[in-house]
């Protein structure tokens, strides 16, 4: 939005090192020192035989990656909408929640009839399809009712609208499904058992989560780069007006974007059901914000970036508190119960990403209007 976010305009003032820059450098250096000290401390602990064992670290990393893969799938929706319409769709977390919540109906029914354990694959597919359909419907309705009339409105207007939409969906679901936490039945069949890959035992659900995420990502990549609709989406993201002149139906393409984003959120809903099982009307809020962080981390508008950002964010918040914060006691900062600070670590990661590299790890891909 501002010229000052890009480097060229900074270069002109090479010799003016104002206090804002100093402050940013202060943040950068403090962050690096804190992380370095923390990791050193943890390594020391590890060598001294304190803290988590190697097996515990491994399990932690694997579960962080699978949580991160789920964030990545939600992040795709943020990234695509941002790439095309140029605003943060706050309600995307709720799109994810709607699918997760609705799919509890078939899951419970199937579980009660015994079908769940008899036909695990089929059951999961039914749950997946329900979650996807609900999420897609939510996304499309939201687009039509709330965002379409606001095309071309000042930038903050759709953003504020999406906050309103997000609240409306949350409390509409609270009204419909009640406020209590509902629980998915335990994963069917022998999914929870460990599977040994390269001599490393890994919990079956986590492998399934990672495989599903990879498959979804491949499907999406094929769709965006190899199909006509995908090309239309990229064209609209680049320049809506010219894409329209080239005979692309802009409205329909934008709806397609919401459909694809919603479908990915629906897949993430299934993964949530497998990983955490519990769901209530606020379930979408934190994963939503974290997924946006992941999208920024990877570079907004950049689809592989979103997935990478998701996995990295999962690692940051899963491993970070224990690796960095627990190790800080070698300099006398003793933080009890570091896992409480998990969410704070995720948000600090967001701030640091934006301070260190606002364009994300793989670079942002934005349309001509948003790039400026």
């Amino acid at each position: 939005m501002t010229a000052s976010t890009t480097t060229p305009s900074r270069k002109g003032r090479r010799f003016r090192f104002n206090w804002v820059d100093s402050f940013l450098w202060f943040i950068r250096i403090t962050a690096i020192i804190t992380i370095a000290v923390g990791i050193t401390g943890s390594v020391q602990h590890f060598i001294a035989g304190e803290g988590p064992t190697l097996e515990q670290w491994r399990d932690l990393i694997i579960s962080s990656i699978s949580t991160g893969a789920m964030y990545g799938l939600i992040a795709l929706g943020y990234s695509m909408v941002y790439g095309i319409l140029g605003f943060i769709n706050f309600a995307h977390g709720e799109v994810f929640m709607s699918g997760t919540m609705a799919a509890i109906i078939p899951a419970t029914v199937l579980f009660n009839t015994g079908f769940w354990d008899a036909q695990p694959v089929l059951s999961l597919i039914i749950v997946l399809i329900t979650a996807m359909i609900t999420s897609v419907l939510t996304a499309v309705i939201v687009e039509k009712v709330a965002y379409r009339p606001l095309r071309g409105a000042p930038r903050l207007i759709p953003l504020i609208t999406s906050i309103g939409v997000s609240f409306f969906i949350q409390y509409a679901f609270a009204g419909l499904f009640g406020v209590a936490i509902r629980s998915y039945p335990p994963p069917p069949g022998n999914l929870t058992e460990d599977i040994i890959i390269f001599g490393v035992p890994i919990e079956g659900t986590k492998i399934l989560v990672i495989i599903v995420a990879i498959l979804a990502m491949i499907g999406l990549w094929y769709f965006v780069t190899r199909t006509k609709t995908g090309r239309a989406m990229r064209a609209v993201a680049e320049d809506k007006e010219i894409a329209g002149l080239m005979g692309i139906n802009v409205d329909r393409t934008i709806v397609t974007t919401f459909i694809v984003g919603g479908a990915m959120a629906g897949v993430a809903g299934l993964l949530w059901a497998l990983l955490f099982r519990g769901v209530d009307f606020l379930t979408g809020f934190l994963p939503g914000i974290k997924a946006f962080t992941a999208a920024v981390l990877g570079g907004i508008g950049n689809l592989p970036g979103a997935m990478l950002g998701g996995v990295l964010l999962g690692l940051f918040e899963g491993v970070g508190p224990i690796l960095v914060l627990d190790g800080l006691d070698i300099v006398g900062i003793d933080i009890p119960a570091v896992s409480q600070l998990r969410n704070a670590v995720a948000f600090i990661a967001l701030v640091l990403v934006l301070v260190f590299r606002p364009t994300g790890l793989l670079g942002e891909r934005l349309g001509s209007e948003d790039r400026a």
Partner: protein, 582 residues
Amino acid sequence: MKRDLKHIRALGLIAGLSMSFVAGIGMVEKFNIRVLIEPAVTMGYLVLFVMPFVAGSLAARGVPNPLVEPVRDPRANGISGLITGLIAGVFTAIFVLIIDTFDVTEFFPNMRASTVEEMTFGFGLAVGLVVLVLATTVIGGLGGTIFGLPQRVRRGLTTAGGWVLGFALFEVIVSDIFSFADFLLDLIYAPQGGLEIWSAVIIGALAWWLTARYEGRAKEFALTVRDADPKSRIRRSVIWAGILAAILLPMLLGGIVNELLINVSLFILMGLGLNIVIGLAGLLDLGYVAFFAVGAYGTAVLTSTMGSAIGPGWSWWIALPVVMVFAALAGLFVGTPVLRMRGDYLAIVTLGFGEIVRILLLSDWLTPIFGGAQGIRRIPGIPVPFLGTISGTRPELFIYFMMIFVGIAAYISYRAQNSRVGRSWAAMREDEDVAEAIGVSTVNAKLLAFITGAVIASFAGALFSAKVGTVFTNSFDVLVSIIILVVVIVGGMGSIPGVFVGAFVLIGVLGGPKSPGLLQEFAEYKLLIYGALLVFMMLKRPEGLWPSARRSRELHQEEALQDAWLDKAGEFDDDESGEVTS
């Protein structure tokens, strides 16, 4: 004609869906406890039947077209409304039938047998459904017919309806104000709550007659005051009358209303602060509650001797300036890293900051200082000479503190808005690059906005902790940030009176994040309504209820240009503009 029918069908379906929705989330059932007019009109049915009424009236208007005046004809409009209502009624009836037939309570706890009973008015399924469809149809038709009536009658009806509703909905406040005239209240209100039917008729008729007679004069007076010179006698006397009323009112009002006013003014205070950040400087801050938390926890730690390891037990008056400095530093600290971010990244980063603050306050790590989940207790109130310590237990005195600080914040906003800083904020809000090019230091302007906003929020925090006496992290949820945002937006971004209007309408009537408003029944659903309201305002009236002149010009710039263009086009060719519409 075909388009109109499609329009009617769509409206009918939307109304039916909305009716099914409010029934399905249990709103009708829960609101039905509250009787508005003896014996039939309850709040639940009001919420339910507002849908076909509005849909009927919209259907009568026809497909929206700015170039054509809608046809006003009671009979034709009434028929459109009737059809709309019929569709809505049938839709709802089918919904009720479905939830009666299938047991879905396992997943949708609010779609239970008692819901069906409320929706069929206790007449049993068959008769009840017929009554439901008929009632919806008639109310839809009524909506249409009223749209078609001549303007004079329509306005009379709306004012009368508005006043009756006001008296019925705000029974608590009316009783509280007129508690000295008990016999009158007993006359108007039924013993178990709600207006008596005849008193509703009298209030309506009286309102109609009074507005018809005096509205013109009142408007004239308002216009004279508005256009008068700020230093003129009439303007001054109005302002003095306002101040006098503000001083006298809390003495006359009862505890409930004062308590409510304190809550409202707390949000006015925060709204004014956020208005500077969002409305004037155009920085979307979603973590505003963090500064409120700094103010509240700062005061709590400095004045309380319980729950915190520091606890110097200072007086509130000494703590206040220290807290203000802390808040300003916090504003600087949050503001600096986000200076060069895109507007919408700023939103999410500030949201993140707000959450970080809350998580840190709650964490075991900082429990010795901030009390963790226990919070900080026994915060003394505000010591005042001759009056003792004033805290939330004495709302009739505490309200004056709120008024003073609201006054200070409003004065700061007003002066800032019309100063050099205010103009640089406006320039920055419009276009940062251009602002920088004409010599506005956007760094300073942004930081100043953040700091001013933070300090005003810390006032609110300091007052809040003195009022409640205990602070928990619960009171500093993201929700609070969002609710302040809704207050500012509903009132009108960048508009100082707008913040007052927004806070009174939302916090006063619907209720704040933790405190109930006048309509206590809404408690469970208020966030649903907040969300819907935010979307509605953004779509239909982005400039807010009481817009600032500059802001509404900005938002409607395009329309104004379009109008000018249309006028110009009309000069050349008059009948072609008529062709376009058909």
